[in-house]
């Protein structure tokens, strides 16, 4: 019996090592949530990662950006996470896109899965639309901390899996025009949103688990839970109650024929 570093995860399937090594995974945002995801994917044996993040490391990131250390401030976040991935998985192909993902969107098109770790509804909306257009599974995570009474806080979060031909984030009521508009009004006044490592870890780990379940047959489940809510005060993950309203409904936001590049012409340069 082979006894290599992946022996203990052989239950994921005979071909899981090859599946992971061939999959191309994009992570949009590599700070709180995305850094966990990158680390876990590297440990699992994923060898083709594409990291998107336009920011450089700042002091307030160091409380939660897995793989970052005090000497890393002013470095590009993508550089720091690449280095972490390569420590775990030497020889991995880690492509860096220290830009807004829209500026290098073509690099997403052949992804097996896209993980979105953005803190902005408008950005999520565009990323989901892009993934739908190119038939890419999109797994979104995010957390919020709210002050519910003076000195009392609530932590919440979500893992949403948006698969082509299945309900989208608009169907689930997670993305709405009102939320996007309110966010746009607050632009510049947003300040520093509270963030802490352990909820990011819970959400990222769950997202990685969902991703692995999409790629390998280990649990033979027939029902994906596309919207998982995180109650950070009770430390509970549960299916969102909105899912019961989505049973059997087709997504009206992304028709099945709204795929591909509407500007495609043979030999034409990518925009």
């Amino acid at each position: 019996m082979t006894n290599n570093r992946f022996t203990r995860q052989s239950f994921l399937g005979l071909d899981s090592d090859r599946t992971f090594s061939r999959a191309v995974v994009a992570i949009i945002g590599v700070c709180g949530g995305g850094s966990h995801i990158a680390q876990q994917l590297a440990y699992l044996g994923f060898r083709n990662l594409r990291l998107f993040d336009p920011d450089h490391v700042q002091e307030p990131n160091l409380n939660r950006m897995v793989g970052s250390f005090p000497g890393d401030t002013t470095k590009n976040k993508t550089d720091v996470i690449r280095d972490q991935v390569l420590r775990i998985q030497p020889g991995a192909s880690v492509e860096l896109f220290p830009f807004k993902w829209q500026e290098q969107h073509a690099a997403l098109r052949d992804s097996s899965i896209v993980f979105g770790c953005l803190d902005n509804f408008g950005q999520r909306d565009e990323l989901e639309a892009y993934c739908r257009r190119f038939l890419i599974p999109y797994i979104d995570i995010g957390m919020d901390v709210h002050e519910v009474a003076k000195g009392q806080f609530s932590i919440s979060g979500q893992i949403i899996t948006s698969l082509p031909a299945e309900p989208c984030m608009r169907c689930m009521g997670f993305i709405t025009e009102e939320r996007i508009a309110r966010e746009a009004e607050r632009y510049g006044d947003a300040g520093d949103r509270p963030q802490v490592i352990w909820p990011n870890g819970v959400l990222a780990s769950t997202a990685v688990g969902v991703g692995v379940s999409l790629l390998t047959p280990w649990c033979n489940f027939s029902e994906l839970i596309p919207f998982i809510e995180y109650d950070g005060n009770r430390h509970v993950l549960r299916p969102s109650s909105v899912l019961s309203m989505l049973q059997g409904r087709e997504c009206p936001h992304y028709p099945s024929d709204a795929v591909g590049d509407p500007f495609w012409q043979l030999g034409r340069k990518l925009h």
Partner: protein
């Protein structure tokens, strides 16, 4: 140029469901799938499954010498679709076995006749053929005005779970 077909698991199931239906006199069924194109960063051309277009029962000829023979009306319907929308059209049928399927001499001979018709209504777009088995698939794509088709190197089924069929050789 590397060619890749990507479609949802749901669309793939619809194809199988339709092709599984018995026909009065035709031994096999045929369907068409419309696809939209996209170029990947590395130059790979991806065809993304968009629509499923079954062939009506009345559009099969009685011809026991072949699995299925379509009337001209069947082709007229899908040619009209390709004329109206900027799509690539794939002719789809199934061989009743497990394992990697491939096209028979008859499949290829007939495809060489009807695929060029799609360029009359939708020039500049690739068109082709897809054959399924009960657990796999293979395809050939003709680039515009090319007499020689290229094999689909990858067929990706996007859903829960995902599935990839590779023809890397």
């Amino acid at each position: 140029m590397t060619l890749h077909l990507r479609l949802t698991g749901k669309l793939f199931e619809r194809l199988h469901d339709d092709l599984s239906r018995r026909h009065q006199h035709s031994a096999e069924r045929v369907a068409f799938m419309s696809c939209l194109a996209a170029t990947m960063k590395d130059g790979t051309l991806a065809l993304l499954g968009a629509g499923f277009h079954p062939v009506a029962d009345d559009d099969y000829e009685r011809d026991p010498s072949v699995g299925a023979m379509l009337r001209a009306s069947a082709f007229r319907n899908v040619l009209q679709i390709a004329y109206n929308c900027p799509v690539s059209m794939l002719h789809v049928h199934r061989h009743e076995h497990r394992g990697m399927p491939w096209f028979s001499d008859v499949d290829l001979r007939e495809a060489h006749k009807y695929v060029p018709d799609f360029w009359k209504v939708r020039p500049g777009f690739p068109h082709g053929i897809l054959v399924l088995s009960h657990d796999s698939a293979a395809g050939l794509i003709w680039m515009p005005d090319s007499g020689v088709p290229s094999r689909l190197r990858r067929i990706s089924l996007v859903g829960a779970p995902m599935r990839e069929i590779r023809h890397d050789k």
